[in-house]
């Protein structure tokens, strides 16, 4: 036999061996990726980036059990090979020196290592103490299977809706805005709109830093000679402003008036899209008492409501010149232009966030800039799976998977059927939203503080919650309150926790995310987590099994099987609660293929897991075609693309709240915010992110290149304010609100430039917790807090102090 024949036979023998069930299960759980390839000893595979909601695809290179290289995935539709500075360094996020590698229990004030067996026992006992007082605080950085497991554990197992995610802080108002307008959540359009729009209007966000790859997609068109008008509408100048044709700086909260001002002019000029509105829209206003669906009003009532919002009045409220408001209205009046609006935290982190979101949709609907590629109102998400995990899996205190709500008997029945649990298992009573959950946790039990334990996964609330010294800190002095934290690194939250559980990160586990354009993406585990760090989903399932073994009835389904049983009828149970066997099967696939059964009823159809293995994501609804292929949907509600719009119809808003196939155009009045500058606190304080750091900086501060770029937080001041106060660039100043004080270096004329009377502080720095200063007031519908505006003052520190 010659050498090549020997090699062929050896390859065939290996492939044949891999056909056997044992190896098949192992390989499909660990690495069934069709994209796997080996080049120069480096094994490459696909994954979505760990960081933001854009959902860029990366190629991950692994050698000797470590991630050694990251490349942009040239075949990915989202990013076409490009990454941002965080994405290029995402592999380094796994290798900070202080990874959590062992469970830790606080004893006598100190965190001490314990075994996983002990840790699971502690968690189970905290549940059994009083299941109704046990809560999970999760995350838009959970993978889809992780969030689904947590949701099923709580709602299908403990009969409790005390589960809420950190996405309550970032996306909840976008959700209520979509529901109030279309009757169903998430954007109608997709990133393809950015490739087709003639005008891009950016409302209260800074995509040049926060969604840089998407922003690059538009700027790249300009560099190729295309004309794209960029309008930046915000409360301060940012890097985005530098690229804008027009920058409109408005007084905080007056974005409500601006949107109304545009619509006032559309009607005054008779320039609204009469035919589109007449055939596809209805009108709404706030009801009394207020409800998310409001009340129906007539077109004439809508017109009369907008009468006060003349350009002059809006200019007075907002500080934006009347001519700019007229320019905006002229653009929206032009049906030959394609206009995309994008927004993120400005309209969402807003005590009138639901209102503002509905107004942004209303401007597009009234002007007819909807439903054609390039005509879209689209909220972008910050977290990689706020859409996929929180909004779609329903890990909110009122929600069920697939867009259901716990208050709807039919939705509860569907959940009980899919989970195979007895009728009545799913509670109809919503749990506490995030701010209320933490308030109750920080309130003594004898004073109504009925949450005794919170299990936090994949988030850092002691840094990210607003007014953190009121919502989190008091709980640490209450001896019967217990804080469990699953995370990858020490954080502000692990440092005050009672029990810390080490977690696997990103490609250290199988996973799936859902990004801002409804694209669900999948990846396989590529490296092992360090030490005893384990998947968050395993932790949840292992606790469920511990409860099951203790006889807790909720951990059995109606047939008496374990709630997270994997094995099928007549097949042996796979002990996935035992870490040694967790990857015997693909638990992600099992959970996902169960979860996707929920997704039909609100037309958010997902394909089988195997389809996402093959693809670089698919945009739902994904519907199987007669030839067996799975087809994604780019443009919902539009007859030319959405499979759920009947043939011959141009549009159909098939979840219409007015039950007539129409979207709702809302009137929402301008209202002042709950806290405004006054003599004592004369500044507006806004908080947010920077390009180089991801949220609370847990991952990025440990990546040397990113840390060196922006090593610490600062307060941006306007040059005139600084001069008036005698503050020099870089000088340490004291920033104060009614809730707290913080010393920060001043940055004047930096990358962000607030107008006079405004300040900005990024929240990534755990040594400088700006959320000790922020307000926990929230939107009445979404319960999302407002991080963008509260009253503050700046005081010079003693030069020698």
């Amino acid at each position: 036999m010659d050498r090549r024949a020997f090699l062929r036979d050896a390859a065939m023998a290996a492939a044949t061996l891999a056909l056997s069930p044992a190896t098949a299960a192992a390989s499909s759980a660990r690495r069934g990726s069709p994209y796997l390839r080996v080049v120069d000893g480096v094994t490459w595979d696909k994954a979505p980036c760990r960081f933001c909601g854009t959902g860029c695809h990366v190629q991950v290179g692994v050698k000797n059990g470590r991630v050694v290289a990251i490349a942009g995935d040239a075949n990915a539709e989202v990013n076409k090979g490009l990454l941002c500075v965080k994405g290029y360094h995402v592999g380094l996020a796994l290798y900070g020196k202080d990874r959590l590698t062992r469970p830790l229990l606080r004893r006598n004030g100190k965190l001490e290592p314990i075994t996983w067996d002990e840790a699971l026992e502690i968690v189970a006992r905290r549940v059994l103490r009083d299941p109704k007082g046990f809560a999970i605080y999760g995350s838009g950085q959970w993978t889809i299977p992780e969030g689904y497991a947590a949701n099923k554990l709580m709602k299908g197992g403990l009969s409790s809706n005390q589960i809420d995610p950190n996405a309550r802080l970032c996306m909840a108002s976008a959700v209520t805005g979509y529901l109030a307008t279309y009757g169903v959540d998430e954007p109608a359009g997709c990133y393809d709109d950015l490739d087709r729009c003639d005008v891009l209007v950016v409302w209260g966000n800074n995509p040049a830093e926060m969604h840089p790859v998407l922003f690059s997609r538009v700027m790249d068109r300009r560099s190729r000679g295309e004309k794209v008008i960029l309008i930046d509408i915000g409360t301060r100048r940012t890097r985005t402003s530098a690229f804008a044709d027009h920058v409109l700086t408005f007084k905080p909260n007056s974005d409500l008036a601006l949107a109304n001002g545009i619509m006032h002019l559309l009607l005054e000029r008779d320039a609204h899209a009469k035919d589109f509105v007449a055939r596809h829209c209805a009108f709404r206003a706030d009801s009394s008492p207020p409800t998310l669906d409001g009340k129906a009003i007539t077109f004439e009532e809508f017109r009369r409501s907008l009468a006060p919002y003349t350009p002059e009045h809006v200019s007075q409220l907002s500080g934006v010149p009347a001519a700019e408001i007229e320019r905006l209205a002229s653009l929206f009046s032009n049906r030959d232009l394609r206009i995309t609006s994008i927004w993120c935290m400005g309209p969402n982190q807003h005590t009138s966030g639901t209102a503002m979101n509905t107004l942004l949709h209303a401007v597009h609907l009234l002007s007819g800039h909807f439903g054609r590629p390039g005509d879209a109102p689209t909220s972008l998400t910050g977290q990689p799976s706020a859409c996929g995990t929180v909004r779609e899996v329903g890990t909110l205190a009122h929600a069920l998977p697939g867009g259901g709500v716990v208050t709807n008997a039919q939705h509860r029945k569907q959940a009980e059927e899919i989970w195979g649990v007895p009728a009545g298992r799913v509670s109809a009573k919503p749990g506490y939203h995030t701010v209320e959950l933490w308030r109750r946790f920080s309130t003594p039990t004898e004073r109504g503080g009925d949450i005794h334990t919170i299990w936090v996964q994949v988030t850092n609330p002691a840094q990210s919650l607003p007014n953190v010294d009121a919502l989190v800190t008091p709980s640490r002095k209450l001896p019967d309150k217990f804080l469990i934290v699953s995370d990858v690194y020490p954080t502000a939250t692990t440092r005050i926790a009672d029990l810390v559980l080490p977690s696997a990160l990103w490609v250290e586990k199988n996973g799936m995310f859902g990004n801002s354009e409804r694209r669900t993406q999948q990846w396989f585990k590529m490296v092992d987590p360090p030490g005893q760090a384990r998947d968050d989903a395993w932790q949840l399932i292992a606790v469920a099994r511990r409860l099951h073994d203790k006889g807790f009835a909720g951990m059995r389904d109606a047939r008496g099987r374990f709630l997270f049983s994997v094995g099928g009828e007549g097949q042996p149970e796979r002990p996935i609660w035992d870490w040694a066997h967790y990857y015997d099967v693909n638990v992600d696939e099992h959970l996902f293929d169960e979860y996707r059964r929920f997704t039909r009823h609100k037309h958010k159809d997902l394909a089988p897991y195997a389809e996402y293995v093959k693809a670089r994501g698919l945009r739902w609804p994904v519907v199987q075609q007669p030839d067996g292929r799975w087809r994604e949907t780019k443009f919902r509600f539009s007859g030319f693309d959405d499979p759920y719009v009947a043939k011959g119809k141009e549009f159909d808003f098939y979840h219409s709240t007015s039950k007539d196939g129409r979207a709702q155009i809302w009137f929402r009045p301008y209202a002042p915010p709950p806290e405004s500058p006054d003599q004592e606190y004369p500044f507006w304080l806004c908080t947010g992110r920077v390009l180089e750091h991801w949220h609370t900086g847990t991952l990025t501060i440990r990546i040397p290149q990113l840390r060196r770029s922006v090593p610490q937080a600062y307060v941006e001041l306007n040059r005139e304010d600084a001069r008036r106060l005698g503050i020099q660039n870089g000088e340490i100043v004291r920033l104060e609100t009614r809730r707290g004080a913080l010393d920060l270096p001043a940055w004047i004329d930096g990358r962000g430039q607030p107008p006079p009377g405004s300040l900005f502080v990024p929240f990534f720095d755990e040594r400088l917790l700006v959320n000790q200063l922020t307000l926990d007031a929230h939107d009445p519908f979404s319960k999302q807090p407002d991080y963008k505006k509260c009253a503050a003052r700046v005081v010079r520190r003693n030069k020698h102090g």
Partner: protein, 84 residues
Amino acid sequence: MPISGLVLTLVAAPELRCRALAALSTDPRITLGEQRGDRLALVTETTTLGESRDLAESLIEIDGVALLEVVTVDFSDVDFGEAA
């Protein structure tokens, strides 16, 4: 010349599965092996690593193929001066 051992998982639909097998059997670079249920062992032999990668990616695109798993890749006689 890289030699790869692969396992394909085929879809359940009989017609698509037949079409996939037919497509695979016509490619001289592919040697089909044993099939057990919906899984098929095969070996590919290409001139360059780049061709090996392209061939693997084209197999995924075949309608009757649900999944491709790379079991082994031997490039012990590849000259890394060649274009990958």
